[in-house]
């Protein structure tokens, strides 16, 4: 579930509020997104993918809260890690689509049936 909105990084663009499919965020009086309905989070990582400044963090657990601290996430290089893989914000330098290895996945799998 979504666990962090970094007030430090957030530029109040409002995108996460707009893109969250299950309407988890509200905007507070200062214009900051707040996690208002965490129980409705579907752990889809889309808010993170769209945040232009890597201010959001979605933890791995779908049903339980996970305690996180911003510094630890920065140290572990996790803030913005999903967006970096998709390539959103890389101005075309990175593209998950272009790097898609689906066409050779089957090859990688050959041999399993033979017990290799």
């Amino acid at each position: 579930m979504i666990e962090l909105v970094s007030e430090d990084r957030c530029i109040q663009c409002g995108l996460c509020v707009k893109v969250c499919p299950t309407n988890v965020f509200d905007t507070n009086e200062d214009g900051l997104p707040v996690i208002a309905r965490q129980e409705d989070c579907q752990t889809c990582y889309m808010c993170e993918a769209y945040c232009p400044v890597d201010a959001l963090f979605v933890a791995h657990h779908a049903d339980e809260k996970v305690a996180v601290t911003e510094q630890d996430l920065i140290d572990r290089d996790l803030l913005g890690s999903w967006r970096a893989i998709i390539g959103f914000g890389s101005r075309g330098k990175v593209s998950m689509a272009a790097n898609d290895t689906t066409p050779i996945l089957r090859q990688a799998r050959s041999g399993i049936a033979r017990g290799e």
Binding site: A62, S95, M96, T102, I104
Partner: protein, 543 residues
């Protein structure tokens, strides 16, 4: 309570409800056929729905006679002989043409081992981000965070919809001669990847206008994920070995037996480890094919190649099933004038039959049915002289809405949802279907029905969630009603007492009604020969 006058009002030719791939293609197609088009999504066109966060494989078959004949024959068989040959050919051609457009528009397909573009798979975030730009460029007005709550109608058919803007709390109304329901399937908030916006709202809206559902028994679909996570893209598990609680190997990789996950998870915990990703090269390939699958692992600090992790199955309802709104015309019309359905909201039996499994069929259907419904809806709307603003329309919703409440007591939304989930999620009920168990479960579901006729709070969240609860109760009751009527095993539907396919039931099962559910059988049309041509839209620019 009288329904309130909406604060946001728009008039269009075509209203598309839902902004997953089916809705996006529908809106693009309607606008490309000259219709003023509005698309309203519960969430956001680009992130919402079953495709956006992950990705999907497509039916992408070159226009080669032999290849296509083989694909059709395969599907007729695996679809339990409920699909129609001309529709499968048409689907194949439409998906093929549209995927060329996607390439033209700039989706960066990867190369296969022979250096050719591989176009049978797309990564969801990039595909849907692109579709948003395509839809915008076609001139469609996009209303994000605008869930539809009910349709508008008069004696001439459908005439638009009403809903609520979740960000402002304001009510909205869009009047349009044609409405396309593209709200996806129904997965009962199971937290499968991207599945919590699909609560069967469109199916309920259609039924409130008297439209039938078809194939609701074909809804026995679960997907496997790490127990803690949501990423239900199974293909990575093709590289795994599986273990029981005591650490004994129960499967060493390679092809698994039918029902493998369900059988073992029904007995107790199951653990997996990607033992066949045993070289750095293989690991890199697996990761780059399905990057999101690894995100939760990296965050949890688990290396799935060397550490065991528990798995579980999340229910997907009709999303990777095939049942939904019954279509009657070639362009995805329903029995109500002006009302169309596309994607997972519609019954996909015409092309997929009784099973969507094996991938590719549903995602291609979203493309094709979207494109077809957009054309049908545009032509229907443009045949009218006056705009829909002149019609004497009334809201058609009857359940789970503020203005239809029959008692002062509020709908206990969380309790109702939990009660429905308790009937739909357990493998012992829904996967290993048997007559007495499904019948008892259906009885309990019927008891939830009166509850969704209670009062509804005024906040946007309360209004949306009450309506979702009503839709989920109805969809659940349809599924188990249909399951009990189809006394056989066919496609993805099984019934312990009837383990064989029964030739006499090679028909579609149609349900009507919401409070009282009735059924009838419909023959599968066997008119071979005439194939309705694919829709060709000339596109010049890239986006």
């Amino acid at each position: 309570m009288v329904s309130e006058q909406p604060e946001e009002r728009l008039v269009a030719d075509v209203l598309v409800i839902g902004g997953g791939p089916a809705g996006a293609w529908a809106a693009w197609s309607a606008a490309s056929h000259g219709a003023r088009t509005v698309l309203a999504d519960k969430g956001y066109l680009g992130t919402s729905g079953a495709t956006a966060p992950g990705g999907t494989g497509f039916l992408y078959v070159e226009p080669d006679k032999e290849k296509r004949e083989k694909a059709v024959a395969d599907r007729l068989k695996s679809g339990g002989y409920l699909s129609e040959e001309p529709w499968i050919y048409r689907l194949m051609e439409q998906a093929y043409l549209n995927i060329q457009l996607v390439e033209q528009w700039g989706y960066r397909f990867p190369l296969d081992e022979n250096g050719n573009l591989y176009k049978a798979h797309m990564q969801g975030p990039e595909y849907m981000e692109l579709m948003r730009r395509v839809v915008k460029k076609a001139g469609v007005t996009i209303l994000d965070q605008h869930p539809a709550l009910e349709l508008l109608t008069d004696e001439h058919g459908v005439g638009g919809a009403r809903g609520v803007n979740r960000l402002s709390g304001k009510s909205w109304e869009v009047r349009a001669h044609s409405v396309i329901l593209a709200t996806g399937g129904c997965a009962f908030l199971s937290k499968g990847l991207g599945c919590n916006v699909q609560t069967g709202d469109g199916q309920l809206m259609a039924a409130e206008l008297g439209v039938e559902m078809s194939g609701m028994e074909f809804s026995r679909q679960y997907a496997t994920t790490a127990a803690f996570g949501t990423v239900t893209r199974n293909r990575v598990l093709g590289f795994a070995s599986f273990y029981d609680e005591a650490g004994n190997v129960i499967h060493e990789g390679g092809p698994r037996q039918d029902h493998f996950f369900a059988v073992h998870l029904h007995k107790g915990p199951v653990y997996a480890m990607l033992t066949h990703g045993n070289t750095p090269e293989k690991q890199a390939i697996i990761r780059a094919s399905t990057p999101l699958w690894f995100v939760p692992f990296d965050r949890a600090g688990i290396d799935p190649f060397t550490q065991k992790f528990p798995i579980k199955m999340r229910y997907e309802g009709t999303i990777r099933g095939t049942g939904g709104i019954r279509l009657v015309g070639d362009y995805c019309s329903t029995t109500v004038p002006g009302l169309f359905a596309a994607g997972d909201a519609a019954s996909r039996e015409k092309t997929a039959g009784a099973r969507s499994g094996g991938g590719a069929y549903n995602a291609s259907w979203a493309i094709a049915s979207g494109t077809w419904s957009g054309k049908g809806a545009a032509e229907h709307a443009l045949a009218h002289g006056k705009s829909a603003d002149h019609r004497d329309l009334r809201p058609a919703g009857r359940y789970g809405l503020r203005h239809t409440a029959e008692s002062a007591e509020s709908i206990p939304v969380r309790e109702v949802v939990k009660a429905v989930q308790n009937e739909m999620f357990p493998l012992g009920i829904n996967y290993f279907r048997s007559e007495p168990i499904i019948a008892a479960s259906l009885e309990r579901l019927h008891k939830q029905w009166p509850l969704v006729r209670g009062g509804v709070g005024s906040s946007a969240t309360a209004r949306v969630q009450a309506r979702e609860a009503a839709a989920m109760v109805v969809n659940a009751r349809w599924m188990y009603s249909a399951a009990l009527i189809r006394k056989e095993t066919r496609g993805m539907h099984t019934m312990a007492e009837y383990p064989e396919l029964d030739e006499a039931m090679s028909s579609r099962l149609l349900l009507s009604g919401i409070g009282d559910i009735r059924h009838r059988w419909e023959d599968v049309p066997r008119s071979y020969g005439s194939i309705t041509p694919a829709v060709v839209v000339k596109e010049r620019q890239s986006v």
